[in-house]
């Protein structure tokens, strides 16, 4: 067998992976090991594969992904904290033929933006909502989020989240699955290759629903790590996530084709 030169290796037919052109070349602003970047890539791959690169408008949140528009190479609007679903509502209603998605963290979607989230999911706006749940406020330095687990330490629950005084973690995805306006509701992860593949299938299904003109929200939660906020190495944070987050935030589909998936 002839030896491969560098020029051979980088020939298109020899490449095992090509970055989607819908991700810009800007250096990601996320901490190394953080799940946000993977989630970004999956969304853009799906949009490219569905041939929607000239038909898509995305809405960035306030949170670590506030700069999502620097990386997602489509038309983008940066919304106020929590309001992405309202912003998406108007865009989709005024451009019904376009693909519209929002991208939000758990503080954004499940605390300050709870009202917009619930009403968009209840009205059944024809949009895709991507929800990154890392159980903490990453951007502002690791404060307690509505999704923070009981006894979990954060900078505003330094002795652990005491449910009696600080409230219970909120399962927003279970909540929106109950609403008549959601069509597809699923919870995924992006910490292993197989989880990434499943997440991508889920994201593709969500965008395909919108493309098919099916009324209703397609809602994809991605349980993700915040290694910086959790004060762990990326690897440890993924182990911790499997051991602590997944038992509480169970992965899998909650609602498919408008029907609640019965619990196993």
């Amino acid at each position: 067998m002839p030896e491969l030169t560098l020029q051979d290796i980088i020939k298109p037919e020899n490449q095992v992976y090509v970055k989607t052109k819908l991700m810009t070349d800007n250096t990601l602003s996320y901490c190394p090991g953080c799940g946000h970047g993977t989630a970004h890539r999956l969304i853009m791959e799906v949009i490219e594969e569905l041939g929607r690169e000239n038909e898509t408008i995305g809405i960035a949140p306030v949170g670590c992904s506030v700069l999502a528009y620097e990386f997602l190479n489509v038309d983008m609007q940066e919304a106020a904290h929590g309001r992405a679903p309202a912003v998406a509502t108007a865009i989709k209603r005024l451009w019904p033929g376009k693909t519209v998605f929002s991208y939000q963290g758990d503080g954004d979607l499940a605390a300050i933006g709870t009202s917009e989230t619930i009403h968009v999911c209840n009205r059944g706006e024809q949009i895709v909502m991507i929800f990154i749940n890392n159980g903490i406020y990453g951007m502002t330095g690791g404060q307690m989020a509505p999704t923070t687990l009981p006894n979990m330490k954060t900078s505003t629950s330094p002795f652990g989240r005491e449910v009696l005084t600080m409230g219970n973690p909120l399962k927003m995805t279970e909540l929106v699955a109950q609403l008549p306006g959601t069509y597809y509701v699923t919870r995924q992860a992006v910490h292993t290759p197989s989880a990434v593949r499943k997440s991508k299938r889920a994201i593709r299904k969500a965008f395909q629903n919108q493309l098919d003109g099916i009324p209703g929200v397609s809602f994809v939660e991605i349980v993700s790590n915040c290694n910086s906020g959790w004060k762990m190495t990326p690897t440890d944070s993924n182990v911790w996530m499997e051991e602590n987050m997944f038992p509480f935030y169970e992965l899998g589909d909650l609602k498919v084709n408008g029907e609640i998936v019965p619990k196993k």
């Binding site: 408008i57 038309d75 509502t89 209603r93 009202s115």
Partner: protein
């Protein structure tokens, strides 16, 4: 001659929105302006022009729908009254920062807090000084008749798109609720999607082939970039101050005293200057139509002409009067009169105040 109708101010505003080719109205009910969304829902403009009318879950949602909708380059609008407008301030600040056009009507009621549902002009500061956080101004138009409730809708959209900014229409409960004859302008069709894409290259529409993508944001993490962005905004505000001042003057040429009043207060003051004339006191009326940019030049001209004093008449404890004082700079007397908390002053009370505070005092 356009179509004549007898309408409430709120209804005229709503009808004007349909006729101006508005693409989307997003609102939340609050007295004294709920007729706007009620009228729109009953008229079903969606069937006539394709205009979207959506009752949002809150004013916070409405204004953020405007952020999204305005960002697409389409004409979007909301209306509310004082407490609802307070809730919108964060969104307005974002839109000023991201330079997104929209029109917001405030049919002002008495405050602070829940206040009451009677007419007031106590949101002047909030309207003309920026309202939300950051260094920004919004063009503010103050209708004084049902006719102007209609006419100011297309005018506001012209300004909103020319300067890429939210524009406020600040009325009060009286203008919103009273019925008057109004001559409606002929409907203009909504822009087609192709026209929107062609006209507004800054707007989000999915990046048609061959075009650069658009990012609408108010975030500039580098302070030097944010300073530069702010400088550009300030340039825009200077241009607005130079080119978009609107006002009306009645009997000012021969007047010894000037009442400055806008909206309902100007209507009342018109009667007061007539009563004054009957008593041989020469009073003129300067009515700011644009509350921001404020008509400083005509005030300055009147000072230079030697008028003996100004009475700012407003249904507030004295807000616009501060801008009058800033312009007059103690070269002559400036006083304030107004009932407030939803109480409307009578023309006689205004004349009394003028005599006591400017002539007698």
């Amino acid at each position: 001659m356009g179509e004549l109708r007898l309408m409430k101010g709120n209804e005229a505003l709503a009808e004007a929105a349909i006729r101006a080719g508005v693409d989307g109205y997003f609102g939340y009910p609050i007295t004294p302006q709920s007729e706007v969304i009620e009228y729109l829902m009953a008229e079903k403009p969606f069937d006539r022009t394709g205009m979207i009318v959506l009752q949002a879950e809150s004013e916070v949602a409405s204004i953020n729908m405007l952020y999204g909708g305005g960002g697409t380059g389409k004409k979007v609008m909301t209306s509310s009254s004082s407490p609802g407008i307070s809730l919108m301030q964060e969104g307005l600040s974002y839109m000023a920062g991201a330079e997104i056009p929209c029109v917001v009507a405030n049919v002002v009621r008495g405050g602070p807090g829940l206040g009451d549902i009677q007419p007031a002009q106590s949101d002047y500061f909030q309207s003309v000084k920026g309202g939300g956080h950051g260094d920004y101004r919004l063009p503010v138009l103050a209708p004084a008749s049902v006719q102007e409730m209609s006419d100011f809708v297309p005018l506001s959209f012209d300004l909103a798109f020319k300067y890429r900014t939210p524009v406020l229409i600040v009325a009060d409960g009286l203008i919103g609720q009273m019925m008057e004859k109004v001559e409606l302008f002929d409907p203009v069709p909504r822009l087609t999607d192709e026209e929107v894409i062609e006209r507004y290259p800054w707007a989000t529409n999915g990046k048609p082939k061959g075009q650069e993508r658009r990012i609408l944001t108010s975030l500039h993490l580098d302070p030097y970039k944010l300073e530069k962005h702010n400088m550009l905004l300030q340039e825009k505000y200077r241009k607005l101050e130079a080119e978009e001042v609107r006002f009306e003057m009645i009997d000012c040429e021969t007047a010894d005293y000037i009442i400055i009043a806008y909206g309902s207060s100007a209507r009342i003051a018109q009667k007061s200057i007539q009563l004054a004339g009957e008593e041989g006191i020469k009073v003129g009326l300067l009515r700011p139509i644009s509350l921001w940019p404020f008509p400083k030049q005509p005030i300055d001209d009147l000072v230079k002409k030697g008028v003996k004093g100004f009475l700012a008449v407003e249904m507030s404890a004295g807000q616009m009067v501060e801008d009058v004082r800033l312009t007059v700079r103690e070269r002559t007397k400036v006083e304030h009169f107004g009932r407030y908390g939803g109480v409307i002053h009578s023309p006689e009370e205004v004349l009394e105040a003028l005599k006591n505070q400017l002539i007698g005092g």
